[in-house]
């Protein structure tokens, strides 16, 4: 993690850190690993749940 602001309130995550963060969230919210989530996203088979949009929006952390 690299601080972006002097007070450390904004931090930049590397791709690896981002994948770890997002993987924890896909597991907690959907019970899926990040890899399973990405595969379902690509196959357009994600469940119709409100958490899905939230996680899709965070996908740049994993790319």
């Amino acid at each position: 993690m690299s601080p972006v602001t002097a007070d450390g309130g904004v931090v930049e995550l590397t791709r690896e850190e981002g994948r770890e963060m997002l993987g924890q969230r896909t597991q907690r919210m959907l019970g899926m690993s990040l890899e399973e989530f990405e595969a379902a996203y690509e196959a357009d088979t994600l469940p119709d749940r409100s958490e899905v949009l939230h996680l899709i929006m965070l996908l740049p952390f994993a790319r």
Partner: protein, 157 residues
């Protein structure tokens, strides 16, 4: 965000200008407590791009957002969304009201909603206390931050 929490704002790194970046909170959901004791949860996901804007340099252009307010048990109350194509759903910014008719499925049209306006709602209308560092100036901080969004946004419905 420092007006309301000490949680960090994460930004996706390693991207080139023009690529889509994301913002998220280190605490997701962010747990909040209103002055009357009500518990609330805030979820935030925001996508943006850095766009060259000569002669001034660079500006941030919002690509999509999901700002969600849950009750303390995690049940959705309100969600402000903008997720134009290629994402599914309507292209216009909208609001979901889960707890009242017409129900969560309806996309109630809105203008583009800033993060600052959601934080202002929490602080001024829902009684969430500001952080110690911003007890006296959170209104000014939010106004100043939102001013750039208003000044540089490319469209508003």
């Amino acid at each position: 965000m420092s007006c309301i929490t000490c949680a960090q704002l994460y930004v996706a790194g390693g991207k080139k200008p023009g690529e889509t970046l994301a913002l998220g909170l280190s605490e997701d959901p962010l747990l909040l407590r209103a002055a009357n004791g009500d518990r609330l949860q805030l979820l935030l996901a925001h996508q943006f791009r850095l766009v060259e804007d000569q002669p001034s340099g660079w500006r941030v252009s919002t690509v999509a957002y999901d700002y969600r307010l849950n009750d303390g048990g995690g049940k959705e109350i309100l969600s402000w969304h903008w997720h134009p194509a290629p994402m599914k759903g309507p292209d216009h910014p909208h609001l979901h009201v889960a707890a009242a008719k017409p129900g969560r499925h309806a996309h109630l049209p809105t203008g583009r909603v800033s993060i600052e306006s959601v934080l202002r709602l929490l602080l001024t209308d829902l009684g969430v206390p500001p952080t110690h560092d911003h007890e006296s100036d959170y209104v000014d901080v939010l106004d100043a931050s939102e001013r750039d969004f208003i000044e540089y946004r490319s469209w508003h419905s």
